[in-house]
């Protein structure tokens, strides 16, 4: 048995970093005064399940894999789970299902292929990756060079320490989420949106156009925001005095093409905003890519509240299946 001191730094070695793989915990809150944005999982629901399946608390550090291509080698025995977009997952070349936790042994190679639908996956390990937080969080925001390992996306040969299975004699609890309860990813989406901010600067006609038109995800989509393409809508002002931007805010610059601002958004900005997409739909949007179609649907703040609490209670009632 390895001693704690010698195995402290053991975990996973990155053998292929993929397109964009980032350490993410639940996000960085309380540092707006420094100009730091929230970061955190783009798809908070898939992130939630990855940690749940590993028996982790909700703020545990995971890897967010965008598009795919990540390969890791385990240096110790641990329990992991992968959730999110259906990326082909293999352990030593053998296929493995998402949405369940399983044991990997020291020396095993974990490989994620590329998904055809959906964009992001979460890889959690029981006990979490041991990453030193910056400003109270391990969430990586590359633009700010904050979080993760040295503020950067994962690179080949990075080592991600974790606890591992402390005693192999201990009975492992492996869990899975029933198939019918797994989120489905689609390339068409309705985004529930609360009218807010500068909505009074958009005429009734512009609002009706906005809520009745289809928009395509443009080539500019990332963790900062999704620029959409479709029917241009016009505000009666070009800009505003710079002000705080919330998660999901729908910003409309002079060209009339809406931008939905997500986790890595800049905290203040001066474009007019027509409203904000609710958080659970922002998570779904972050699983979309160029060419996918979205539509906005106006809901009231009370409906937004209801949707939040309904999802929460659904999550709390969902029972994971015990596999072992």
């Amino acid at each position: 048995m390895k001693t704690l001191t010698s195995s402290d730094e053991l975990g996973f070695v990155v053998t292929n970093a993929g397109i964009l793989s980032l350490i993410q915990d639940a996000g960085r809150y309380g540092s707006f005064n420094l100009g730091l944005t929230n970061g955190g999982p783009a798809d908070a629901l898939a992130f939630y399940w990855a940690n749940k399946l590993c028996g982790n608390t909700l703020n545990t550090s995971t890897i967010e894999i965008s598009l795919g291509g990540l390969a890791l080698t385990a240096q110790r025995d641990c329990v992991i789970a992968v959730t999110g977009a259906p990326m082909p997952l293999t352990i030593n070349g053998k296929g493995q299902s998402l949405w369940q936790s399983f044991l990997v042994k020291a020396g095993d190679t974990i490989r994620l292929g590329f998904s055809q639908v959906g964009v992001r996956c979460y890889l959690a390990v029981a006990g979490g990756f041991t990453i030193k937080p910056s400003f109270g969080s391990t969430a990586t925001v590359c633009r700010e060079s904050v979080g993760g390992i040295n503020g950067s996306k994962l690179m080949v040969n990075d080592v991600l320490p974790c606890q591992g299975v402390i005693n192999s004699a201990e009975k492992l609890k492996l869990l899975m989420l029933a198939e019918y309860q797994q989120p489905q990813y689609s390339n068409e989406l309705v985004l529930s949106t609360v009218l807010s901010y500068q909505q009074q600067h958009f005429s009734m006609i512009e609002k009706r156009l906005f809520f009745s038109s289809d928009y395509q995800v443009s080539k500019h989509w990332d963790r900062m925001g999704y620029r959409l393409q479709g029917r241009a809508i016009k505000a009666d002002i070009a800009g505003i005095l710079s002000e705080g931007i919330c998660y999901g805010a729908v910003q409309v610059p002079a060209d009339g093409q809406p931008i939905v601002l997500l986790n890595d958004r800049q905290t203040i900005g001066g474009y007019p905003k027509i409203g904000a997409v609710i958080s659970q739909d922002c998570a779904k949007l972050s699983q979309c890519r160029q060419g996918d179609t979205v539509r906005f649907e106006a809901i009231s703040m009370s409906q937004a509240d209801n949707l939040f609490h309904l999802q929460l209670s659904r999550l709390q009632q969902t029972k994971l299946i015990v596999c072992s």
Partner: protein
């Protein structure tokens, strides 16, 4: 369909609006007789009120409020949906902020920032002078002539929006931002000025370089200035700039498309 909107006034010049699912927005300096469409103005008195509201919220609503983003005339309030809903928060803010005034009891600090102003360190200095029909020396002295207020922090870690510069040296942003602006660049955009905390893309007009660190991630207080503080720029010469750790071997990169706008 669009009728569930509530815009309420706390006092005759503080208004609450919806922002997002767990965020409310407070607007300052608009009064009941004006429409919500009226554009807010930049003023130290309004900024004082914003600053005071931040203090009151931090002090009294620490459980309910996750974080706030103060800016020129607004304050974004992000709250915890598991603690409070927007109706209750509106009520609490309404009660709390009636005592919000422009005489902030906690006055901000005045921070001196040394700047090496020269055509060598400030590549847009000559153009600004020419456009303003002033000498380079006049531009430099006008930039130092007043105390600037920190109105907002954002765009990048430690990027403080300072205002307002003398109307005579106000200069619009570059039409196409530069891909690379050096750390420490002191720059002007319209009537705002700022010090770039790190090398980044940027569209402001550069008039000098400062050797100070605006943002030190590892420090106990990472930021040199906070919203509500004031900044006074003080000219130093090249020798002093280098002695204070400033560097001159920088090059701005040609302009090009960038994703962010400060």
């Amino acid at each position: 369909m669009f009728d569930s909107l509530e815009s309420t006034f706390i006092t005759d010049d503080i208004r609450i609006e919806l922002a997002g699912q767990n965020t409310l927005m407070l607007y300052f300096g608009t009064n009941e007789s004006t429409t919500a469409k009226q554009v807010a103005v930049i003023s130290p008195a309004i900024s004082n009120k914003v600053h005071h509201a931040v203090q009151l919220i931090r002090q009294h609503l620490a459980t309910e409020v996750i974080d706030v983003i103060p800016s020129y005339a607004s304050l974004l309030v992000m709250f915890n949906l598991l603690e409070i809903d927007h109706h209750q928060l509106r009520n609490k803010l309404t009660t709390l902020l009636t005592q919000c005034g422009s005489d902030s009891h906690k006055k901000g600090r005045v921070v001196e920032i040394p700047v090496y102003y020269s055509p060598e360190s400030g590549i847009d200095l000559a153009r600004i002078a020419k456009q303003a029909r002033l000498s380079i020396e006049q531009v430099i002295s006008l930039h130092q002539a007043q105390e600037y207020r920190v109105y907002a922090v954002g765009f990048a870690p430690g990027f403080a929006y300072l205002g307002e510069v003398d109307q005579r040296i106000a200069t619009p942003r570059l039409t196409t931002p530069r891909l690379k602006v050096p750390k420490g660049a002191v720059a002007i955009a319209d009537r705002q000025t700022a010090v770039y905390p790190a090398q980044s893309p940027g569209g402001w007009n550069i008039i000098g370089l400062s050797p100070v660190d605006m943002f030190t991630a590892q420090a106990q207080s990472p930021m040199l200035v906070e919203v509500g503080d004031s900044v006074k720029f003080v000219a130093i010469d090249k020798q002093q700039y280098l002695e204070l750790g400033g560097q001159l071997n920088y090059a701005t990169t040609a302009s090009g498309e960038t994703n962010s706008k400060e």
